[in-house]
């Protein structure tokens, strides 16, 4: 468990270092995600890598544990709303309406494009 968490942190650390180092317009953790994915795929090909957290579902179990409480992780940033109460008092209704409309339009545009393209490709969904 500890080694698995360590591996996840290491992927993030390398991700952050590379992003800062060469100025990529990409969040460090996203690069860390790619790195962990590459490690998992490489493990299936090269048996040498199947050690420590990359064995017996080590990093898999730790990751699922983290993702099981993904919502919790947004609470501290969300409470930051208390710092913006004056702005919300003056423009709150407009801001909330703008964000709500935009999120609905975005959801529809994305889901309908996905379905349209996938139907054009005659992909039958398995479910």
């Amino acid at each position: 468990m500890l080694a698995s968490l360590g591996l996840i942190l290491l992927c993030q650390l390398i991700g952050e270092a590379v992003v800062r180092g060469i100025g990529l317009p990409l969040p460090g953790p996203v690069l860390g995600l790619l790195l962990l994915l590459i490690l998992l795929l490489a493990r299936d090909r090269f048996a040498v890598l199947a050690h420590g957290p990359l064995r017996n579902d080590g990093v898999e179990t730790a990751s699922k544990g983290l993702l099981a409480h993904l919502s919790l992780l947004f609470v501290p940033a969300g409470v930051g709303v208390v710092q913006k109460l004056d702005l919300l008092a003056s423009h709150g209704i407009a801001i909330v309406l703008v964000l709500a409309l935009s999120v609905v339009v975005t959801l529809l545009a994305t889901v309908l494009t996905f379905r349209l393209v996938s139907r054009l490709l005659k992909q039958q969904d398995a479910r």
Partner: protein, 240 residues
Amino acid sequence: MKDDPFSLWVYLSQSPLLWLTVTLLVYATTDAVSLATRRHPLANPVLHAMWIIGAFLLATGTSYTSYFAGAQFVHFLLGPATVALAVPLYENRRRVVSSIVPMLVALLAGSITAVVSVVLLAELAGLPRDVVLSLAPKSVTAGVAMGIAESLHADPSLAAVAVILTGIMGAIIVTPLMNRTGVTDYRARGFAAGLAAHGIGTARAFQVDEIAGVFSGIAMSLNALVTSFLVPLAVTLLVR
């Protein structure tokens, strides 16, 4: 000290322990309520934890800075959790690879819609320029949106608030909206949730369906990338 309960409060309210405990306990409660209502969209655990803790801070006159000193330990885990998305992605890699074309087209359509719609609507509503700029990156995850807002000389903390509000509204609305469109493809539904409502949408998607969660996580990561390029461009073209 024994005869002065106020000094005990002063001590505790400045320590990370109290606010970390409050964050975990309030969330555990709102999450239990959400589970008891069989994950009803309106029982969104983030939304309710947010206002309960916020009201508690206001009632006790605690600053957000002292609250965050404790809550930062939870906030920190956002990064590792993003890395952890590699695991469901790896386990579902075959389905992901076979949907790569619709994913990329939907990514482009969705991220352009997200940025253009919010900028146009905000201008239409007559919001001040710095507010418009801070709302523009609202569909990507908080850390990235704050970085974008900073590079535009907008307000990063307002950007973070816009991100969270968008995420919560997206997570609440996604299930009823998708049911109404009649789309039953959980790849498409999840992808839309992650693109429009980042991590909070992804957390919601995982509650509904594992495949939806996987596609939502991919959409969230890819959108963070595309939006970083798109927002500066859209702002130059659309903002007065």
